[in-house]
C-alpha cells in the first residue's frame, strides 16, 4: 500500500495479514523489501516490509537529501499506519530501527538489529575533508536505476557513540544479531545498554526470539 512521509510516497508491503503483534521490516542500504524472502513467514502476526525512500517501489527524494533520521521517519510513517509493532532492521535499516525504537519506545516493544549494507555509516566522528562524496556532483538520471544513487550518502553520515547509546537506553528491548564479524562503534555502544541482548541465530530463529521478547513487553490491548 502507498503511505506518505512528508512529500514522499512510500511503498509499505503487507506480506502477511492475520491477528497478533505486527512486525515491521526495514531493509539495508540499496536493498528493498524483496530482500526478506521467506524468513518472516513464521511470524505469528501481520508482517509489513517497507521500501525506504529512494529504494524499491518508493519515491526518490527530489534533490537527493537522505540521512538516517529521515529513514527512521519513513519507518515512523509506517508505524502511524500499522500501530504498535516489533521492528527488525538490517544495515542502515538496523540503525534506523534503533533511532525509532529509542524515540517511539511505547510503540516499539522490541527491535532486532541485523548486519547488512550501510551498517557503519561514516564512523563515530566526522572525517574532515572526506564528508563530501564525489558522486554528489553527478547529475541524476531518474528512471535508469532502481535505487537513487544519492542514498549512498548514507555511507558517510556520522554515527556518534553517545548519540546511539542515548537511543539504546531509551528503547524498551533491543536484540543484536551477532555473527563473530566486527561491528561499528554505534553497535558496540548499543550492546552496552541494559535493555540490549546479543543473540546468535539464523534469521527465522532471531525473529522467533524477537516475537517472544516483544510479546512479553506488550499487552493485548496494545495491538
Amino acid at each position: 500500500m502507498r503511505i506518505t512521509h512528508g512529500r514522499i510516497t512510500l511503498e509499505l508491503h503487507e506480506l502477511a495479514r492475520r491477528g497478533g503483534l505486527p512486525l515491521l521490516l526495514l531493509h539495508s542500504l540499496c536493498g528493498s523489501s524483496a530482500d526478506w524472502g521467506e524468513a518472516p513467514a513464521t511470524w505469528p502476526g501481520p508482517v509489513f516490509a517497507l521500501d525506504f525512500a529512494g529504494h524499491g517501489h518508493s519515491d526518490w527524494v527530489v534533490g537527493g537529501a537522505y540521512y538516517p533520521e529521515m529513514l527512521a521517519g519513513d519507518a515512523d510513517a509506517a508505524l502511524a499506519h500499522i500501530g504498535n509493532a516489533a521492528v527488525a532492521g538490517a544495515g542502515v535499516g538496523a540503525y534506523a530501527a534503533l533511532l525509532l525504537a529509542g524515540a517511539r519506545s511505547t510503540a516499539v516493544p522490541a527491535a532486532l538489529l541485523l548486519p547488512g549494507a550501510g551498517l557503519a555509516g561514516g564512523g563515530p566522528q566526522p572525517d574532515h575533508g572526506r564528508e563530501f562524496p564525489e558522486f554528489i556532483l553527478v547529475a541524476r538520471r531518474p528512471g535508469v536505476a532502481d535505487t537513487d544513487l544519492m542514498v549512498r550518502t548514507l555511507e558517510r553520515d556520522v554515527r556518534p557513540v553517545d548519540y546511539a547509546e542515548g537511543f539504546a537506553r531509551a528503547a524498551e528491548r533491543i536484540l543484536l544479531l551477532e555473527d563473530g564479524e566486527p561491528r561499528p562503534p554505534w553497535w558496540e555502544a548499543t550492546r552496552r545498554s541494559p535493555v540490549a541482548e546479543s543473540i546468535t541465530a539464523d534469521l527465522p530463529s532471531a525473529l522467533t526470539r524477537l516475537h517472544a521478547t516483544a510479546h512479553l513487553r506488550s499487552t493485548v490491548t496494545d495491538y
Partner: protein, 300 residues
C-alpha cells in the same frame, strides 16, 4: 475568487539595488537552481550564497559594487527565491549545489557566503579547493551551542511528531506590508524601503494573498551534528578566508568572541574584519563598507 479586491503591487525600488544583468537556470542533483548575474561575463567570477530564508536579491546592492571588477553570480539556494523546492533538505546537498555552481562556472571562483550560506561556502571550499580562489565568510560560523538539555530521543520523538503534522505550504498573508513587518523583526536597522524590497523578492502574490517563496519544510532536520565539529573542520581549509562580523547583538549573532576565536584559530590563512554598527546581516545593513572590505581582500 474575486479579482476586484486584489491590489497588484509593482516591484519596489531601492537606491543602489540594481536589476540582475543576466539570469541562468541550472540543474543540480535533480533540482532547478536560479542564478542572478551582474558584471562582465568574461571577468573573474565571484559566487555569492545567501543565508537561511533569504534569497539572491539580498545581494542586490552588494553584488553590483563587486561587478565593477568581477563577474558576480548570486545563487538562490534550493527551496529559496526562484529556485525549486526539493523533497527534503540536508546540509550535504546544499553544499553539493554550491559545488555544482562552481563546476558550471568552470574556472576558479571567489566564494562569498552569508550565515548558513557562509558555512556552506566554507565547506564547498574545503571539498573542491581547486575551484575556489578565495573565500569570504560573513558571520557564517555556526551556532554557539546546542542549548536544548533534553535527551536526544525525546527531541527526536518531537521531530517525528512534527513530521506527521507538518504543513507543506504557507498560509497567505493579506498584504506585502505584513511580510515587511515580519522581516523588520529580524532586521530592525533597515530602512522601510529596503525592507520592502527584500520582502517583495522573498514572496509572491497569489490571488488570495502573499506567500513566502521559501519552502516551509526547510527548517526541518535532525541529526547528531554538533558545533564542536566546526573548528576542526576549518583545519582542512586550504584557501584564504576573510571572516567578517558585525558588532551588534542580533537575532542570529554575533558569536561570543571566545567561541568565534576558538573556531577561527583552525583557519590557516585568515583575515578578520568587524564592521561597527552592523548586526548579523552585515552586507545587507552595510553593503558599501562590506563590498570595500571584500574588494580589498579579493584584489590583494
Amino acid at each position: 475568487m474575486d479579482l476586484r479586491n486584489v491590489v497588484y503591487v509593482t516591484e519596489p525600488s531601492y537606491p543602489g539595488a540594481l536589476e540582475p544583468e543576466r539570469r541562468a537556470v541550472i540543474e543540480s542533483l535533480g533540482v532547478r537552481l536560479n542564478l542572478l548575474e551582474w558584471g562582465d561575463p568574461h571577468a573573474s567570477p565571484v559566487v555569492l550564497t545567501h543565508g537561511m530564508w533569504d534569497h539572491a536579491r539580498s545581494y542586490a546592492v552588494f553584488a553590483p559594487l563587486l561587478a565593477a571588477h568581477f563577474r558576480v553570480i548570486a545563487i538562490d539556494a534550493r527551496g529559496h527565491g526562484d529556485s525549486a523546492w526539493a523533497g527534503g533538505y540536508s546540509w550535504l546537498v546544499d553544499v553539493g549545489d554550491v559545488i555544482n555552481v562552481l563546476r558550471w562556472v568552470g574556472r576558479p571562483s571567489h566564494l562569498v557566503g552569508h550565515s548558513k550560506g557562509g558555512g556552506q561556502a566554507t565547506d564547498a571550499a574545503r571539498a573542491v579547493p581547486e575551484l575556489v580562489a578565495k573565500l569570504v565568510n560573513i558571520d557564517g560560523f555556526g551556532p554557539p551551542s546546542l542549548d536544548d538539555p533534553r535527551p536526544v530521543p525525546v527531541r527526536f520523538a518531537e521531530f517525528l511528531e512534527r513530521q506527521r503534522t507538518q504543513r507543506h505550504s504557507w498560509r497567505p498573508y493579506r498584504s506585502l506590508d505584513e511580510l515587511v513587518e515580519r522581516r523588520r523583526a529580524q532586521n530592525p536597522r533597515l530602512s522601510p524601503e529596503w525592507l520592502r524590497y527584500l520582502a517583495f523578492h522573498a514572496a509572491r502574490q497569489d490571488h488570495d494573498g502573499w506567500r513566502w517563496k521559501a519552502d516551509p519544510i526547510m527548517a526541518q532536520g535532525f541529526g547528531p551534528w554538533r558545533p564542536e565539529w566546526i573548528g576542526p573542520s576549518y583545519g582542512t581549509l586550504r584557501v584564504p578566508m576573510l571572516a567578517i562580523t558585525g558588532s551588534e547583538p542580533d537575532t542570529w549573532g554575533p558569536l561570543p568572541e571566545a567561541i568565534l576565536a576558538e573556531r577561527l584559530r583552525h583557519v590557516a590563512r585568515l583575515e578578520r574584519r568587524t564592521i561597527p554598527g552592523a548586526g548579523h546581516f552585515v552586507h545587507i545593513e552595510r553593503p558599501r563598507e562590506t563590498a570595500r572590505l571584500v574588494l580589498d581582500f579579493l584584489r590583494s
